[in-house]
C-alpha cells in the first residue's frame, strides 16, 4: 500500500471538470485508489463520490493506493494533482 498527502491549490477545489480528469487519470491504473478528506473517503474512479467530498482550496487530501501498479499510480497521480489541482 502506498499513500501520500496533498493540499489543494485550485481556487474552487475538486470541482466538476478537474474531478472528471482525476477520474480519467485514476482509471489508467488497476490499483484501488481512495481519496480521503475531512474524515470522509471516496473512490478516485468515481466522479460523484469525489465531488461529494466537497474538497476546497487549502484542504488536505490523502491518496491511498493499493494494488499491482501502486508505485506507478502514486507517482502518476501526484504529478496529476500538482499540475491540475
Amino acid at each position: 500500500m502506498k499513500s501520500f498527502k496533498y493540499v489543494i491549490t485550485d481556487p474552487v477545489g475538486i470541482h466538476a471538470r478537474p474531478a472528471g480528469d482525476l477520474v480519467a487519470a485514476a482509471k489508467k491504473y488497476s490499483s484501488d485508489i481512495t481519496i480521503k478528506a475531512h474524515g470522509k473517503q471516496a473512490g478516485a474512479k468515481k466522479l460523484i463520490q469525489l465531488m461529494g467530498l466537497g474538497v476546497k482550496q487549502g484542504d488536505e487530501i490523502e491518496v491511498v493506493i493499493e494494488g499491482a501498479d501502486e508505485e506507478t499510480a502514486a507517482s502518476g497521480l501526484e504529478a496529476f494533482l500538482k499540475n491540475n489541482l
Partner: protein, 547 residues
C-alpha cells in the same frame, strides 16, 4: 404594477414579455417490469444515447458560448459514466423490478439531494447537474424533446434553470433571466455574465406571469411586473444609458486620448473618496486629476490623524498603481464645514474663511495633511494642489511649509517620492496673475465652477439667475486661454478639473487652447475621450478661440 426585490447576479436593464419556463420535468410513473435484464439494457442504451447528445451539445456550445461554458456538457457526459449512478439504477431495476424511467428519476433525486445538503455554494449548485442528467436520460427513454422554443425575445422566468437548458436557449431571444432559486455560482449566473444580459435570483416567480410585461433591473435587483408608464419610461432611459456606456466602453477602452490631428492629452478622473476608485478603473481613467480630500474631514467629531490620512492616500496611490493622483488639500469653509473646526458662521461663505485661508491660518492642520501626502508619495505617483489661491504671497508661504515638511521627513528618514506642486486657478485674481504664479509651481488646474461664479459674480445655485447665467461666457473662456498660455510660458502644465472640463461641446476649444489635461467625473471619461478623438487641436482647422 407589482414590485419584487431579488438579488442581482448580473447588471443591466431588460424590458419585455415573460416566458415562464416551466421545468419540462418528465412525469414518471412507476410500473413493474418482468424482464429486468432487457430493462437494464434499455437504460444503458438510453444512457449511451444521452452521452452522444451531450457530446454534440458540447461541440455546439463551444462555438456559441466558449469552451468554459461548454464544459458543463462534458461533465454531464462523465457523470453518466459514473459507476455509482449506474449501479444505483441497475440495482433498482433488478431488485425492485421497476421501469428504467422510475429508477433513473429516483437515483437522480437522491444524488441531487446529496449535493443540495453540502455547505459550499459551488458544490450545492451541483445538485442541478444531477437532476439535469437524469432528466435527459428519462427524456431519451420516453422519446421526448425537452428543448423550449419561442419566437420573440423574452424574459425567461423559472423556478430554476438547468445548466443544459440555459446553454441551449437561443441567445438572441433571451433578454434576461429571473429565477426563484439559483446562486451566484450557478450556470445561469455564469451564462448571464457571458451573454451580457441581466439576471435576478430570489424572485417569487409564478407560472401565471407567463406572457405578462415585466422589467428586470439588474442594477438594483428590482423586478417590475406589469410596469406602469412612468416606470417603463424611467427604465428605458436607464437601459439607453447602459447601452451608451457599453458602446463607449467597447469602442474606447484602452484607446488614446488623441485628436484627429495627433494631439494627445491626459484624461483623469475627479473623485471624492476611496469608493470612487473602482469606477475610475472601470472607465479607463488615466489617473486622478482631482482627489477631494474633504471626505476625510467631514462627518466626524475630530480631526483625522496623520496616520489615517496617510493610509487613505496610500490606498489610492497603490490602487492606481503608478498612475498620477493629484490630491487637493483641504477645501472646507463655512458652507461645508466640520463642527470640530469651530468655524464661525459667515454671511458670505463663498468669499470667506475657507480652503487655503484656513490652512495658512492654522498651519498645524495643513502640516499634518502635507506630511500624510508626502509619506504616501513613496507608494505611487502623487501630486499635491492647493485650492483658492489669489496671490504669490500665499504660494510663497505654502512652499515654505511644504519645504519644512520635506526637511522634517528627510531628517526622520521617512521616504517620500517626487511630488509635483500645483495650484487651483479658481479666482479671477489667480487667472490674471497666472504669468507670475507659473514661475512658482509645476502645474495649474483650473477649477471652472468657482472661476465662473467669481468672474460672473453669479451664484449658479440661484435659479433666478438662469437667464443671466452663461456657462460659456467669453470672459471665463478668455481667462482659461490666458491661464494656459501663461502656464506654458513658464513650463507649468495646465489642466481643467471643473465641470466645464466634461462639457464635450467645449472639448475641441480646450484642445485648441492647448490644454494638457482634463479631469472629469469617472462616468464622463469615455464620452470626453470620444470628443477628443473627433476634434482637431490645430487652431486653423476651426475658428472658436477666444484670445
Amino acid at each position: 404594477m407589482e414590485k419584487f426585490e431579488g438579488k442581482a447576479i448580473f447588471k443591466g436593464v431588460a424590458i419585455g414579455r415573460i416566458m415562464f419556463y416551466g421545468k419540462k420535468e418528465n412525469i414518471v410513473k412507476r410500473f413493474k417490469i418482468e424482464d429486468t435484464a432487457a430493462e437494464i439494457q434499455r437504460y444503458d442504451n438510453a444512457r449511451k444515447e444521452s452521452i452522444e447528445q451531450l457530446k454534440k451539445l458540447h461541440d455546439d456550445a463551444v462555438k456559441k458560448v466558449g469552451e468554459e461554458n461548454a464544459a458543463i456538457f462534458e461533465v454531464h457526459a462523465m457523470l453518466l459514466e459514473d459507476d455509482d449512478f449506474n449501479d444505483s439504477v441497475h440495482n433498482m431495476i433488478e431488485n425492485e423490478e421497476v421501469n428504467a424511467e422510475y429508477a433513473t428519476a429516483v437515483t437522480g433525486e437522491n444524488f441531487s439531494k446529496m449535493f443540495a445538503e453540502m455547505e459550499d455554494e459551488y458544490f450545492k449548485a451541483r445538485s442541478a447537474d444531477m437532476k439535469d442528467i437524469s432528466e435527459r436520460v428519462i427524456s431519451v427513454l420516453s422519446g421526448k424533446d425537452t428543448t423550449a422554443t419561442f419566437d420573440q425575445p423574452v424574459i425567461i422566468a423559472a423556478d430554476d434553470l438547468m445548466p443544459s437548458e440555459t446553454v441551449q436557449l437561443d441567445k438572441e431571444k433571451v433578454l434576461a433571466f429571473v429565477t426563484k432559486y439559483g446562486s451566484a455560482n450557478s450556470h445561469t449566473a455564469i451564462l448571464a455574465r457571458t451573454m451580457n444580459i441581466p439576471a435576478l435570483i430570489n424572485i417569487p416567480v409564478d407560472p401565471s406571469w407567463d406572457g405578462k410585461m415585466a422589467i428586470v433591473d439588474g442594477h438594483t435587483g428590482t423586478f417590475y411586473l406589469d410596469p406602469d408608464e412612468d416606470t417603463i419610461h424611467e427604465m428605458t432611459a436607464k437601459q439607453d444609458k447602459d447601452l451608451e456606456e457599453r458602446r463607449l466602453l467597447q469602442e474606447l477602452k484602452g484607446k488614446e486620448n488623441v485628436s484627429l490631428d495627433g494631439k494627445k492629452i491626459n484624461l483623469y478622473a475627479n473623485i471624492g473618496g476611496l469608493k470612487d476608485l473602482a469606477s475610475v478603473l472601470a472607465n479607463d481613467g488615466g489617473g486622478v486629476g482631482l482627489f477631494r480630500s474633504e471626505f476625510l474631514y467631514i462627518g466626524r467629531d475630530s480631526m483625522p490623524t496623520e496616520e489615517e490620512q496617510f493610509q487613505a492616500y496610500k490606498a489610492v496611490a497603490q490602487t492606481l498603481a503608478g498612475k498620477k493622483v493629484i490630491i487637493r488639500t483641504l477645501d472646507i469653509g463655512a458652507d461645508k464645514q466640520a463642527d470640530y473646526l469651530h468655524l464661525d458662521k459667515e454671511d458670505n461663505p463663498a468669499l470667506g474663511f475657507r480652503a487655503i485661508r484656513i490652512c495658512l491660518t492654522r498651519p498645524e492642520i495643513f502640516k499634518t495633511q502635507l506630511r500624510a501626502i508626502y509619506r504616501a508619495s513613496a507608494y505611487g505617483t502623487i501630486s499635491v494642489m492647493y485650492p483658492m489661491i489669489t496671490s504669490t504671497e500665499e504660494v510663497e508661504e505654502i512652499k515654505k511649509i511644504s519645504a519644512a515638511v520635506r526637511a522634517e521627513l528627510s531628517a526622520d528618514g521617512v521616504p517620500f517620492g517626487n511630488v509635483e506642486e500645483g495650484i487651483m486657478i479658481e479666482t479671477p485674481a489667480a487667472a490674471i496673475i497666472s504669468d507670475e504664479l507659473a514661475k512658482m509651481v509645476d502645474f495649474f488646474s483650473i477649477g471652472t465652477n468657482d472661476l465662473t461664479q467669481y468672474t460672473l459674480a453669479m451664484d449658479r445655485q440661484n435659479d433666478k439667475l438662469d437667464r443671466f447665467y452663461n456657462p460659456h461666457h467669453p470672459a471665463v473662456l478668455r481667462l482659461i486661454q490666458t491661464v494656459i498660455e501663461n502656464g506654458h510660458a513658464d513650463g507649468a502644465w495646465v489642466g481643467i478639473c471643473g465641470e466645464l472640463g466634461a462639457d464635450t461641446s467645449l472639448t475641441e476649444t480646450f484642445l485648441q487652447m492647448g490644454v494638457d489635461e482634463l479631469s472629469v467625473s469617472p462616468s464622463m471619461i469615455l464620452p470626453v475621450r470620444e470628443a477628443i478623438r473627433k476634434s482637431y487641436a490645430g487652431k486653423d482647422t476651426k475658428s472658436g478661440c477666444f484670445s
